[in-house]
Symmetry: C2
Subunit: 810 residues, 2 copies
């Protein structure tokens, strides 16, 4: 069999780029000169390409690198004004943009944050000497200085100054530095509230981009939030005056005795935390006084608080859409920039595979040759040898795909001998049957009821007796058999590719570990036993709505985690401030003069010959170290009975302490409202999406199918061999061998990735996206003549073609 | 001046209707025969119209009435199968459809509900003898029987049986009747939980349509709600088992000692009501146990509860849209039905004014002739003498307009003599100036701060001294002057037409009344004085967002009120059940054996020579009469510390009582979630609307302008005179006289009404509405051939023309 000539697509493209990488312009004249020589001497003949000078290759490499950087900037939503402008900046950029550097950033930030575990007031077990923790802090700060200097080198002084976040970080760094030195010199900690600012080091980390976005979103939602908050506070003031006039004549009512009390108690009432107690004294005197409280709660709690949610939700929705739009356009611009660097003067209408491959070498170094080619093929919609800009626009959607050869065999056991095949086929049919599935559901349900009844029968006593209950063994055996059948019937790979199966697997594994723990009496692992009821979660597969909810939950998880982290950052700030002011102020029986004395009581008195301990426990909710502070702040977030903590601390300090608690309440209210709005938005969005695409509901992410023929593969191998650039052809040759073995002329590959929110948004805003694009290109057009001082052109890619033309003129 | 011949529009149309009113078919044959005679004998000649037989007029009157009934049914969203089918049913229908009957319905229902104030356990002041209240009840029930019999007469037995709500009502009525008789015979009240069903009488009232819609919406939102609720409960069970295993070995932890305790406490924890207390015993023993609670709250409270809101919100949105759609199509069908009854055989392409006027005489008897004509004119877009079906579709939008002659003078004082005019003009300019407005805002702000400071300085003591504070008088004077200036400058009518001015006016009036009360020392009215801070609300006019919020609030008010009423109906049911089971079970010091003993304590002990009263007050939250029950239920709705009430009652009864409280919590959760979803939906809708129509933001409802010329008026007068049907031409003649006086040839009238939610929805769904219409008419089309057995037609009004054709064939 003779291979046909490889099609034009594989012809080596050795023209010079239309646009030179900006790094090259800064190179010494000698090199620049040689560039210009090549620039002029480049000939369309393909034959002597390989003989070209290395500086031409170097030039192209530079272009690839810059294009890759543009694409990265587009992906990470980095603004283009931070784009490295010369070779020196490029070096710094490359140094500061890899996972090693990111990890260093992250670990420094975490070290700084974790230091508060060891600084006074420290967690007892982790206490370190002042000398030790101050030195550690100085070391971490030095690392931050190094990071910042790298950043300055990359950005240049002017951009560095203009970059707000970096400037704030520098200021904080400066303050921290001075304070750390002061601590080291004085050998004692002073009131260091500025430690709360350490969070900025974490927020600035590359890996915390999601947190930064959340914070931005929170700040953007603030203006309407504050408006409604003012309305809320305004009504509170009116009602406080009213309440003071109405209830202060009643001397048995401590809640409205002064205007300040009245205000504070109505603020607490807003959180419902002191209801109905706050009403009781007046209600006891006159039953109609309940009207005041009912009206207040109806207006404030049920109306304005919901209004707050509505306003935040609305703003949130709006911001989400605008954010998506700007991200989309930013990516588009990045692609345009990259495209401009990859086209040659000879073929200005598109990117050849060679240059595309060069780009990917920098953009995704780990990608293998096969995948690069498949990506190129998937992008190339027109089947011409060149990738047009229109094709290239899909870069981000396609580059994330994971490619796999489409297996011709249906099951993993297709190649086995006949008997084995039949057995496995039978198992396969069995595990896929409805009967099997429903039997398993029944078993799970019975198991659930069993556990419930068993637990109900146990009234205290020794739960973890040495003899393992037989029911445990029976059910575990059933699950084990199911697991075995499924693994053999579906093949391990397919079995574990489903999230639900993975869940089954891990729960069964845990149950097995629990059994081991029971059997060998390893007490510390007993807790695993109690995880058994989690098996019941499998029942939720039965109903479509639950599947939907749980799927959405998993989709939301990264975003939820970042919101949680954002909340933790707020916690950290408040925890530091709380520790500085309130560490050690509450202790058992501390607040006997306050109205909440009971909650802080700890009495150990003897009645008859029995010792009775009366414990109020609230002294445990303190700010004595950072872990305790976090728990206390969580309790404040949950809001119920928070005024007991507030009053306890207030009675030991001044009544200005209330401000701390009230501000914390308002801040968490903002964050919580945003979390609620986020969950609402995500679910409503998802449900709308399912409603719009009811036919294709059961899809598992994005799937793309591409067929490549043997000739193509051979052509690429040839290409690589000629350019002798990469030794990565072995994988390709393997494909050819495999095709030969099976006598196929082509292999089909499947590209797969999970669906992201961005994909969903793309589909939801389908109609609007085109408008945005047009608007965007109109805007660029109107800016282009000013920047480029060239006349208008009729090409559809005006900004680009304009630039091309102006360059060729120069 | 000679009047021209009136145009064709006024020609009296005396053709016979295309379709006969269904009531006529049921008339005795004699009349039917005469109808047929006219039917054939009707001639297009207009001359001898007036001489036509009265039976023809009777026929038309019947048609008018039936058309009016159709339109009413369309408006009230009554299904057409309840349409009265014959003359007898018509009489019953007319009897049962007027405000007198509605009022009777409402007052009977209210009487029945209010009876529970007097039945044991009664409110002390309102207690009535068993004989008295049982007799009252029987009387009310008799009235209901009468109402139902009228309804049966109107609906006919078959429809009556098919109408679910009516059937339920009948059953409840039957049960109530028997029970009332039993009470009367035994002369003692038995456990009458069925009293909770009395609500159905209120719900069935014509005036409570909004409540019925809310209930329907709540029931429609239930299925997804229950799904998520099950998820919630499921996790609760898992955590309860887990908690039991983890914490029950700790004997100082009463919260997890048994599985039941564990479940109940986790249920309460879901409401956060016992947090952090529930955590404290285990937290005191092992700090890491807080992880259990944090995970539980994060999953249940912060995730699934929000999910619940998301699901309800989504369903709610969907239902709102579908409801709007079905209502819109229902109205359209009603209009089609009415149209069919109003066109004549001679002129099948539209309705003449005469018939339109006849319709309005039944549909809106209070409307004057001028308004009827203006409505006709506003509907008539094509300026032909006949109203086509397309024009007629706008009936509901136009018929609600209030018409007023457009005044030619700008201000009320334009007609006054020169000097007076100038003075008033000056005042007008002054009150409309920004300086004046901002001065007033400053005064209000200063007043607010003054009140705040003044109140702050008052530390208890005699607030309402006999000497009125001078600041009060000063500010009141300023407000009085402002009010006077505005009234004179704008004219009283224009001044009071703005809601904000109305608010200013009433607040100032209240302040004045308060002054009177102070000056003349009328103690019971002192509370008016404390309303002064409400003046501050005026400041919110300053910002657009607040204006928006407050406007939306007013728009939402009717709907909010109906939601509140719905909640009250649920309260009533629970209050009755609560009273039957828990009346009198809690009293001071009742629950000394329970964990919440402190809250119910009432100790009066003497320390030294001082009497100290320790009051827990919670014994006031009881079910001793219906008013107390309502307050208790409100406290349960607010949720905070509800478990104290629950535990108190439980300790005095059985632990099954908890079910009552838990079910109440879940029910209020449903209603509250729906209220939140409603507020969210309304605001988000409104904000989207404002975003869509940013240009026309400052509109005050729907305004329509129509000009009518003198000839037209004269023509109508002629028409009325000839038909001698109505003596209502005096108003028209007045218009003619006025036109003569001012020498005008025409007068312009303005039709005005406030914008409703339906108008907003019309605009929001603009694009979809056309699709709905098409879909609807396609559906009708596909049904029409089956019903009418006629061939397809090409007219755009297919269902109608089909029917017309088939009728003419018959």
């Amino acid at each position: 069999m003779r291979w046909r000539e490889p099609p034009a697509i594989y012809l080596e493209d050795c023209g010079s780029p239309v646009e030179r990488s900006s790094y090259l312009i800064q190179l010494p004249t000698a090199d620049g000169g040689s560039y210009d020589v090549i620039h002029d001497a480049s000939s369309p003949a393909a034959g002597d390409c390989c003989a070209q000078q290395s500086s031409a290759r170097h030039n192209w490499e530079m272009n690839y690198q810059e294009a890759a950087i543009y694409l990265q900037e587009g992906e990470n939503n980095d603004k283009f004004f931070t784009h490295p402008k010369n070779a020196k900046a490029l070096a710094a950029y490359l140094f500061a943009h890899n996972h090693l550097f990111y990890l260093m950033e992250l670990s420094t930030a975490l070290l700084l944050l974790l230091l508060s575990l060891c600084e006074a007031p420290a967690v007892p077990m982790l206490r370190l000497g002042i000398f030790v923790h101050a030195t550690l802090e100085l070391f971490a700060l030095m690392v931050v200085v190094f990071e910042l200097s790298m950043k300055m080198r990359w950005l240049g002084f002017h951009t560095f100054i203009r970059h707000k976040r970096t400037m704030v970080k520098t200021c904080v760094l400066f303050v921290q530095f001075i304070e750390a030195i002061v601590v080291l010199v004085r050998q004692t900690s002073h009131v260091r509230i500025t430690r709360a600012l350490r969070c900025i080091f974490l927020v600035d980390c590359r890996y915390c981009g999601a947190v930064r976005r959340n914070l931005r979103q929170i700040f953007q939602s603030l203006p309407p939030f504050i408006d409604i908050l003012l309305l809320l506070l305004f009504f509170m003031v009116i009602f406080a005056i009213l309440g003071f006039y109405l209830f202060s004549p009643n001397h048995s009512d401590p809640y409205f005795s002064t205007l300040e009390n009245s205000l504070v108690n109505l603020f607490v009432l807003l959180t419902t935390s002191n209801f109905p107690d706050v009403m009781m004294p007046s209600y006891a005197r006159n039953p109609w006084s309940c009207v005041f409280f009912i009206v207040y709660l109806s207006i404030e709690l049920y109306f304005i608080m919901n209004l707050l949610l509505a306003v935040v939700f609305d703003t949130f929705n709006d911001i989400e859409k605008r954010k998506f739009k700007s991200l989309l356009l930013h990516k588009r611009t990045a692609i345009q920039h990259a495209y401009r660097l990859l086209i040659t003067k000879q073929r200005p209408s598109g990117i050849s595979f060679k240059h595309f491959e060069g780009l990917l070498r920098f953009y995704k170094p780990r990608m293998c040759t096969r995948e690069r080619y498949l990506t190129f093929k998937a992008l190339n919609q027109s089947n011409t040898p060149l990738l047009s800009l229109k094709d290239f626009y899909n870069f981000y959607e396609v580059v994330g795909l994971k490619w796999k050869a489409k297996r011709n065999r249906e099951h993993w056991f297709d190649d086995l001998p006949r008997t084995a095949f039949l057995i496995f086929k039978g198992i396969n049919i069995l595990v896929n049957s409805r009967v099997f599935q429903y039997t398993m559901y029944t078993v799970v349900a019975v198991n659930g009821i069993w556990i419930l009844v068993e637990t109900f029968m146990l009234q205290g006593g020794n739960f973890f007796s040495r003899n393992v209950p037989w029911s445990y063994i029976v059910f575990l055996t059933i699950y084990g058999v199911e697991l075995l059948l499924k693994t053999t019937g579906l093949g391990p790979v397919e079995y574990l590719s489903s999230g639900w199966n993975l869940f089954d697997f891990s729960v069964t594994l845990f149950a097995f570990l629990g059994l081991m723990a029971l059997a060998f009496n390893m007490e510390p692992f007993y807790f695993i036993v109690v995880l058994r009821p989690l098996q019941l979660l499998r029942l939720f597969k039965l109903k479509k709505r639950y599947r939907n909810v749980l799927d959405t939950m998993f989709e939301l998880f990264p975003r939820m985690a970042s919101l949680g982290l954002t909340l933790l950052i707020f916690y950290y700030c408040f925890a530091i401030v709380g520790m500085e002011f309130f560490a050690g102020v509450v202790y058992p029986n501390c607040c006997n003069t306050s109205t909440v004395a009971d909650s802080y009581r700890w009495v150990n008195h003897t009645i008859g010959n029995k010792t009775v301990v009366e414990e109020g426990y609230y002294y445990l909710n303190n700010f004595d170290n950072i872990l305790n502070s976090f728990v206390t702040l969580f309790e404040l977030t949950v809001v119920n009975d928070w005024y007991i903590i507030m009053e306890g601390v207030t009675s030991q300090t001044t009544h200005w302490s209330r401000l701390y608690f009230m501000i914390f309440y308002i801040v968490t209210m903002v964050v919580m409202t945003i979390i609620v709005a986020f969950i609402l938005e995500a679910f409503v969005f998802r449900m709308n999406y399912t409603r719009k695409n009811q036919d294709s509901e059961e899809d598992n992410g994005i799937v793309l199918e591409k067929e490549i023929s043997k000739e193509e593969v051979v052509g690429i191998i040839e290409l690589y061999k000629r350019s002798s650039a990469a030794p990565e052809t072995s994988q390709l040759q393997k494909i050819v061998l495999q095709m030969d073995k099976y006598g196929q002329m082509s292999t089909t590959f499947l590209g797969r990735r999970s669906r992201t929110k961005s994909d969903l948004s793309m589909k939801m805003y389908e109609e609007e996206i085109q408008e945005w694009y047009e608007e965007h290109s109109r805007k660029e057009e109107s800016q282009a003549p000013l920047q480029e001082s060239a006349s208008a052109s009729t090409s559809s890619l005006k900004p680009l073609s304009l630039r091309q033309r102006s360059q060729t003129v120069i």
